[in-house]
């Protein structure tokens, strides 16, 4: 039976923000991005860094023209990445899957928002 861990009152986790809550000998990072909540263990699948303490960055894409020529790079704000601050491994915010090698992923948790606040099911 999963236990509920209180994260924050709804107003204390505004859009675009992240909160890290303790969970035993580890932590869970909880994000609200574009109205949706996501939660992951603060533990990188690489060398165990605090993945949720890093930057949240949009995916970088190459702009390739019809004639296959390279035209530069851009941010794709529809795909946000959790970036581990130790070495820069990037994880898809929605799924927790590592973007460069999907054999790795962050441990995902369910999040619920109730009247009195946000909870993680751990």
């Amino acid at each position: 039976m999963a236990k509920e861990i209180f994260v924050a009152k709804s107003d204390d986790l505004p859009d675009g923000e992240r909160k890290i809550v303790p969970n035993g000998n580890s932590e869970i990072g909880v994000y609200r991005v574009r109205g949706r909540l996501f939660a992951y263990q603060n533990l990188c699948a690489h060398q165990g860094g605090p993945a949720c303490e890093g930057l949240l960055m949009a995916k970088v894409e190459e702009v390739i023209a019809e004639d296959k020529t390279y035209q530069g790079m851009r941010f794709n704000h529809d795909e946000m990445h959790i970036v581990c601050p130790w070495h820069g491994w990037e994880y898809d915010l929605e799924s927790g899957v590592m973007v460069a090698d999907p054999t790795f992923r962050l441990r995902k948790y369910d999040v619920v928002e109730k009247e009195d606040g946000i909870y993680v099911l751990a």
């Binding site: 533990l43 970036v83 601050p85 990037e90």
Partner: protein, 412 residues
């Protein structure tokens, strides 16, 4: 401070503390009981440019010193002419956050140098007992067009390090920088500093264009061999190199750059028979990872079998000489198929020749767990690679941390 990100999610950070950043490293240390394991880091770094004014005080040439002082002061708006500029963004454009945040970190004003405080913080978090510390921007000093600047800066740095930093804590040692573009100055450096406390060897930054087989270096190699001090070749990169100039992503510049110079010097070292001329000189290859070693071994063996007349001093295969050399582990390539790594370990005789290192605080640092968690190593091999091999290499007195130290596996 604010770290610019891709959009609205700009990140605001008020404080930075290495201890907090490395909490998960400390948890790994405790779970694996690494406090009981001798861990010697053969390659970590500090940022000597943050102490540039102090270092410049040690420059003897009055004209170079005046120039250095002028540009290390505020107001000129110019970068110091004593260190070549660097193109590149090792921090993956701020994603590796300890780069932009390091200036926020507070250290006590208690007379102990900030670099010592910062080093001990991360060492304790990882469970590291001793380190061999290298500079950072000076890794490109061999590319300075004026050899006299390389000599002046490296001599000032070495004096500052030996007089001001190393005496502050016996856990911090160094393989001192050799100004390799001036062979006579390199010789004098070994002569003058070889016996100083905390000096465990000497290093050549391999990003340079002087061949290791030049006769001008022979007396320096002989002196190091006599002193029993190892010679390390420390990797770096040069994006302005005509070859690397054809790379357009730092990923490639780094993946290639940090291996090709060491591979080139290593091949020259072996094929010119230097291991036969200096059989007692221990040679260490630092910060090129490990994957290049099996590649070069196979290339050289294959060519040597066809062209041994070009390497007449050799009495065994090039790969066998390379198995007598030492390698630092970081950045250790960890393939999804660990059989590949296991074979690499076998080819380099990792149990006796491999020395773990962190490269901390640089972006591609490794924790001790990269070795300790490998399923194909037994406990003795793990302990050798994490500390014992380096203890022997440096002839390190570890009694300060382990008064009753016995080598792993009960060996001598």
């Amino acid at each position: 401070m604010d770290i610019p990100t891709s959009d609205i999610h700009k990140m605001s950070v008020e404080e930075f503390d290495t201890k907090k950043l490395l909490i998960n490293a400390a948890r790994q240390r405790d779970r694996r009981k690494l406090e009981d394991v001798l861990i010697v880091d053969v390659d970590c770094h500090h940022y000597e440019n943050e102490s540039l004014r102090d270092i410049i005080q040690y420059i003897e040439d009055p004209v170079i010193k005046q120039t250095g002082l002028l540009y290390s002061g505020s107001g000129t708006g110019a970068q110091t002419p004593l260190l070549p500029g660097v193109v590149g963004y090792q921090d993956v454009s701020g994603r590796v956050m300890r780069y932009p945040l390091r200036k926020l970190e507070q250290t006590p004003a208690d007379g102990t140098h900030r670099d010592v405080h910062l080093s001990l913080k991360w060492m304790d978090a990882m469970g590291v007992d001793y380190v061999s510390m290298f500079p950072t921007p000076m890794l490109l000093l061999g590319l300075h067009p004026q050899p006299e600047i390389e000599v002046a800066m490296s001599r000032a740095y070495n004096r500052w390090l030996v007089e001001q930093i190393l005496p502050q804590n016996e856990r911090i040692t160094s393989m001192l920088y050799l100004p390799f573009n001036d062979p006579e100055a390199a010789y004098r450096m070994v002569e003058e500093f070889g016996d100083r406390k905390g000096v465990v060897g000497f290093s050549v930054v391999s990003t340079r264009y002087k061949p290791v087989y030049d006769n001008a270096y022979m007396k320096t190699y002989r002196l190091m061999e006599e002193m029993g001090k190892p010679l390390a070749f420390h990797a770096s990169y040069n994006w302005n190199d005509p070859l690397l100039g054809a790379t357009n992503r730092f990923l490639v510049t780094h993946a290639m750059g940090f291996t090709i110079y060491n591979a080139m010097h290593c091949a020259n070292w072996v094929i010119n028979g230097l291991p036969e001329r200096f059989p007692g000189l221990k040679v260490v290859w630092i910060e090129s990872g490990l994957a290049w070693v099996p590649w070069l071994m196979q290339r050289l063996d294959n060519d040597y079998r066809m062209r041994s007349s070009e390497a007449p001093s050799l009495k065994k295969l090039p790969s066998e000489y390379m198995q007598d050399m030492y390698y630092s582990s970081q950045p250790m390539e960890v393939p999804n198929d660990l059989d590949v790594l296991e074979m690499t370990f076998k080819m380099i005789k990792a149990e006796t020749q491999l020395c773990w290192c962190s490269d901390y605080p640089h972006w591609d640092m490794d924790l001790p767990s990269v070795i300790y968690d490998l399923p194909f190593l037994d406990e003795t091999a793990k302990r050798n690679i994490l500390g014992e091999n380096a203890r022997k290499l440096f002839d390190l007195d570890v009694s300060g941390r382990f008064p009753d130290y016995t080598p792993p596996g009960g060996g001598a």
